[in-house]
């Protein structure tokens, strides 16, 4: 038996996995807040536009990694592949996400032009109707806010879990080929998504959220730690390659210090502290502490993908 590190997927892919999970989760979380907590124009616009930027950059990285980027148009031909489903999810996210964002695009109160009774020619009336189109579209979309929001939540979630499913479809790499890897990526994606939104809600003093995102992030980080614990417990026995991967990770200072300590434990403590003592902290700390913990969570989420890909060890029979 030989244990060989994979070298096929490098920085473009782990960056893509991170950005995809972050983009999918932050828009889905904003839509959740918008639908079920309180309608929130600024948060939706911020999360949606950021999500679009993250996914555009991520997809560009993925295309850059291809031997023939133009042939990506053929990636719709084989539905047993997770890449096929990833493209479907990302396209649906962009389409429904854009429609959802259009609801909140600020338009002036009235369409331009003269009142209808003063119009004479057919051309004038036609022009006026054309100019009114954005207002009518927005009104039509407003009536469909709920289903559109739900679709954004569904496809944001789908992208986040897809990033894990993509990696786990590798029977030769025991560390990846487990049911908990997609779960770990999903939880981490939503944790980074919440961490990304927290500074916005702090900046805009969104009191009505009552620390909902901070609470959620604490729970998600705890879940991440539980999943990691389960994983290490599983590899105590089992495939040699999986054990080699865990040994590689636990012996790696970047993973232990960068991800475990500064990417999970420190932000967990910081978020816990600001939830309990936030109202009593000095103004300076009230804003900088959540920002610091958010940056650490985002950094940790990136390191997780990086080290999971680096720890991909094949277990070849020779």
């Amino acid at each position: 038996m030989s244990l060989v590190h994979q070298t096929v997927w490098g920085w473009p892919i782990y960056s893509y996995l991170f950005l995809g999970g972050l983009g999918g989760a932050c828009f889905a979380l904003a839509a959740l807040i918008d639908l079920y907590l309180k309608q929130d124009r600024r948060l939706i616009l911020a999360a949606g536009l950021s999500g679009f930027i993250f996914l555009t950059i991520g997809t560009a990285f993925l295309l850059y990694d291809l031997l023939q980027p133009l042939k990506a148009i053929f990636a719709f031909l084989h539905p047993t592949s997770w890449i096929f489903w990833g493209i479907i999810f990302i396209l649906a996210y962009f389409v429904f996400g854009l429609l959802y964002l259009l609801i909140y695009v600020p338009l002036p109160a009235n369409p331009p032009g003269l009142p209808d009774e003063e119009r004479r020619t057919k051309l004038e009336r036609g022009m006026a109707r054309l100019l009114r189109l954005p207002w009518e579209l927005q009104r039509w979309l407003k009536g469909r806010r709920r289903p559109l929001g739900l679709l954004v939540i569904i496809f944001g979630f789908a992208i986040a879990i897809y990033t894990g499913l993509l990696v786990s479809a590798a029977p030769g790499i025991p560390f990846w080929h487990t049911p908990v890897l997609p779960l770990l990526f999903l939880v981490s994606a939503f944790s980074t998504g919440a961490a990304y939104l927290i500074p916005f809600t702090q900046l805009w003093r969104e009191e009505h959220l009552e620390g909902w995102l901070e609470r959620l992030d604490v729970v998600l980080i705890l879940f991440e730690l539980i999943i990691l614990g389960l994983y290490i417990n599983y590899t105590v026995y089992g495939p040699v390659g999986g054990r080699a991967s865990i040994n590689y990770l636990l012996g790696n200072l970047g993973f232990v210090l960068g991800f475990l300590i500064f990417g999970l434990f420190v932000p967990l403590l910081l978020e816990f502290y600001s939830l309990l003592r936030g109202h009593r902290m000095r103004r300076l700390f009230r804003y900088t502490l959540p920002l610091l913990s958010s940056l650490l969570v985002l950094f940790g989420g990136f390191l997780l993908r990086l080290y999971v890909l680096y720890a991909g060890i094949y277990e070849f029979p020779w």
């Binding site: 997927w9 023939q68 980027p69 053929f74 990636a75 084989h78 592949s81 030769g172 277990e315 020779w318």
Partner: protein, 205 residues
């Protein structure tokens, strides 16, 4: 329909790598970059003083349930007649997902610079004209002419036996059906069609 398979006799393989050379020339494999469709792995088994050394030829297992085919988003990887797992290089976008999914290290990226190099070596009659993921295809072009794969034909010790599993009288079918030749990692459920005689668990050197 045929079900092509190969039996590799580890007990007679000398590790001379004539098969690697024959394959590289036949299929214009980028040997200058140490990328191969078939290769010999050196393997040490046992504990001192009862130790031994084996040469394990490896190539695409042409699985009946190939993970590389499952994960291919473009359908460039397909199962051709006779159960041969092939890559359509005009459809392949080179994402490398199949390389990640293959548990037998059977695939590699045929990079753009290899094509230039191949032009210098093989002239105008080029077998790989676009960058893609490449792998063994049991020398399908030779099978169609009634020949054996290049690696099988060139092997001096008959360590490679090629045949049709659906023909019960073929040597391959007899060796597999008698249980003498066994697949590697059957636990993965890939149902390989390359079988080994005399393979022992061991460590790579």
């Amino acid at each position: 329909m045929a079900r092509y398979a190969m039996v590799l006799n580890v007990e007679t393989c000398l590790g001379c790598e004539a098969c690697v050379a024959a394959c590289s020339i036949e299929n214009q494999v980028p040997y200058w970059a140490a990328r191969y469709r078939t290769h010999i792995e050196e393997h040490v088994y046992g504990k001192y003083p009862d130790v031994g050394r084996q040469f394990i030829p490896r190539l695409c297992m042409h699985c009946e349930n190939p993970p590389c085919h499952t994960v291919c988003p473009t359908g460039a990887t397909y199962i051709a007649e006779g159960g041969i797992v092939k890559v359509n290089q005009d459809l392949c976008m080179g994402c490398g997902y199949c390389i990640i999914a293959c548990p037998y290290d059977a695939r590699y990226r045929y990079e753009r610079e290899y094509i230039k190099e191949a032009h210098g070596i093989f002239g105008e009659d080029i077998a790989h004209w676009v960058p893609h993921v490449d792998k063994c295809d049991f020398c399908e072009h030779r099978i169609r002419q009634g020949l054996e794969p290049a690696c099988v034909e060139t092997c001096p010790t008959d360590a490679r036996i090629f045949g049709d599993l659906d023909d019960p009288k073929s040597e391959v079918a007899k060796l597999v059906n008698s249980g003498k030749a066994k697949p590697l990692r059957p636990d993965l459920g890939t149902k390989p069609k390359v079988f080994y005689i005399g393979y022992k668990e061991g460590e790579q050197r």
